[in-house]
Symmetry: C4
Subunit: 238 residues, 4 copies
């Protein structure tokens, strides 16, 4: 596969990932997924500012880590592109980023209850999931959006080395080493939130130990193809 | 765009708004949406009395602020048209009104728990949402419907300057400066109710501050097109 | 409309009612709806023993109030036909009966929490809904089915003059003066259960007063056509 | 029906059972169903390692009770085949096994709340459902998968003579005397978990007595065809 083919594959996967995330209830009219450029690590690929359910490969633009779009057609991307740029800057291991308002996760960002891995599909959540409180960086009068580099950096700092960070009153961000992995993680973050919310009312929960979380996360990373193909098929059919 | 074109666009938007609200689970066989007439501020447009899921532009009639329908074909509209007429009378800023029984909101109208903005998509809810108790105006033997001008006025008074008012044991009313805005608000009122109900059982909730509510509301008002186009496409496809 | 036409219409309505109830989530592979014969009040019409989602007018048989099927083709109906026969015997005002396992209602049959009308769509529930405990009639070793006349009579006695009775660990029975009304009631019984279950965790609930329940029930009975036509369209499309 | 016809029917039923379980929300991209070989009780039929929603009769392989696949084409089956092999070894009465992550059941595996039969459709759950804790067999550092014979035996021991066993932080296993019965049980295990979770917050639950559980289980076993045909039709249509 030559360089052009590899890039085209990345564009195609990013386009279908948008549709998968809408179809699986992670994104609605808002939210976005990006992937680091395969040949220029200081740039990433993301859709122009539009509803994710309509994204095709032709809608994807190139953005650098300062949040500048490089596009011959002069297209723009999302206001909150700094979520992506600053995480790519802070985390060289991260190759793909999703920002969503996936619904079951919201309650864990606005209460004291921390999101933790309840089953083997969500071991990637680790010991517990950090919560980013924008008030600590920008006070109590913001519109909660990550509108600039400083806020992006603050969010990246909250994320630290984790796979997921919640954003209070807003949504969450998920990172991974590939489009397939980050999609898997976003879908199972939502699933874990639903299950934990149900379990919390039945009694005290036995979460995964740290070692179980690590072992299940490693195991799932070896089986990313199977659910990806299923979600792809469902998104194309739905 | 001439006057006829502007009116036709309003009729088309009102018709598709009916279908959007059914498709997104805000309306079922009952409930209605109206828009103030673009050339006659003392009149509004609303479907004749029928299931909202079937409304076309041809089903829309003109009603005045006393609740009288002006229709050459002698068609009638909903019994509860006074919800609309009295809010348009009391609130010159309001250009569109939705009355629905959207399900997740009902519990907040019959308990002490007040609906408040839990995330940046529903900042328009403001500090908190008023609840209209029909017993205070008409006693304990009504059928809960807003059947006349007096009840419409009492409801408009409860609403005050807010975007949303709940109606105890009945449903809610949502207002906006356009069809697109009022549809956005109705959908995210339902969404906020679902999220708040889930979060309430996890612990104490950090709601938006008043300043955050205002800032996020202003921000969302600049992005009404994107979700509108998505909901429209889904309604036409579904 | 002559006698044959009236009967054919009843058969058609009963067949489509089966499909509506499946489509709206009241029935699944089990449960049944019957209507009293329009010319022979001592008999009723009900599908032969089969999945309700597949019932056509041709699948409907005639049953008498002793539970005997009168069918030239020798077809049989459901084991639990005594639910229907004994309610028709005890309640001359009842023209249609539904027995279902509609899911949100089950928890109210197995806990101390009583089902009560939470909003104006379900005023027909009245002051509160009786619960039939089969152990009081037949001890603790039954399979919970209403297998004979004695159990049917005990259930009818629990129902009394109400519109709905719950059956502990089993399901519920709903009665009405027409197919349209009983379908409306079954769908809104399920809806009320969902809403009441959600509201119960938010705090103390303000239910309809008895007078509100009566007034809203009377009001809804004048508007049965609109939701019926919508449910019918959805069932035929789905 | 000769031997070849009987086997072909088993293969066809196993393939459609995979699709039914996906369509009814018991399986997603993971999980599996097997059936004991009709002529070789020391072997069982199961799909090769793939997403259950895509399984056809041609994808099914033969596996022995030591977990070895016998396939001319050299295909492999799931890592967790030892769930099936060790249960078939320990339970001669078992003819079919499902392992799933069906969502409503997960909370009952990670809390002190035990899954018990709440209504007549799930009497097969018996007095209460055992929970398998892998830590007791393999410590706190596993990936929770049943990767070998020893873990399969430990799980089979937890199951004992029951119809269902939960697997902490992972999923559950359901057994039956036929494909039709095990599918019925898996679907109603999920349903019972949803209902019990709802009922638990309304108050103390009256579960089925042991005698009721037995009687309803026996009764349902005589009516497995009706829901099977419905689920099959829905899976083929969906």
């Amino acid at each position: 596969m030559n360089m052009d083919q590899a890039l085209q594959e990345l564009l195609d996967d990013l386009a279908i990932a948008n549709r998968i995330l809408v179809n699986e209830g992670v994104l609605d009219g808002f939210g976005h997924i990006s992937v680091r450029h395969d040949q220029q690590p200081g740039r990433f690929l993301i859709a122009r500012s539009m509803a994710p359910g309509l994204v095709t490969a032709d809608d994807i633009v190139v953005c650098d880590l300062d949040g500048n779009v490089h596009d011959e057609r002069g297209r723009k991307t999302y206001v909150e592109r700094f979520i992506h740029s600053e995480i790519y800057r802070a985390r060289p291991d991260v190759m793909a980023v999703i920002h969503s308002h996936s619904p079951a996760v919201i309650p864990f960002g606005v209460t004291g209850q921390r999101l933790r891995p309840i089953c083997h599909m969500s071991g990637f959540l680790g010991a517990q999931v950090p919560v980013f409180e924008i008030r600590h960086s920008a006070g109590e009068v913001t519109d909660l959006l990550i509108r600039n580099q400083a806020l992006g950096q603050a969010l990246a700092q909250s994320l630290g080395g984790a796979a997921v960070a919640l954003m209070r009153g807003h949504g969450n961000v998920v990172v991974g080493f590939s489009i397939q992995q980050v999609v898997f993680r976003a879908i199972y973050t939502e699933s874990n939130a639903r299950l934990q919310s149900e379990a919390a009312r039945l009694g005290e929960i036995t979460f995964l130990t740290d070692a179980e979380a690590q072992a299940t996360s490693d195991m799932n990373d070896m089986h990313l193809d199977r659910p990806w193909e299923m979600w792809k098929r469902n998104a194309l059919a739905g």
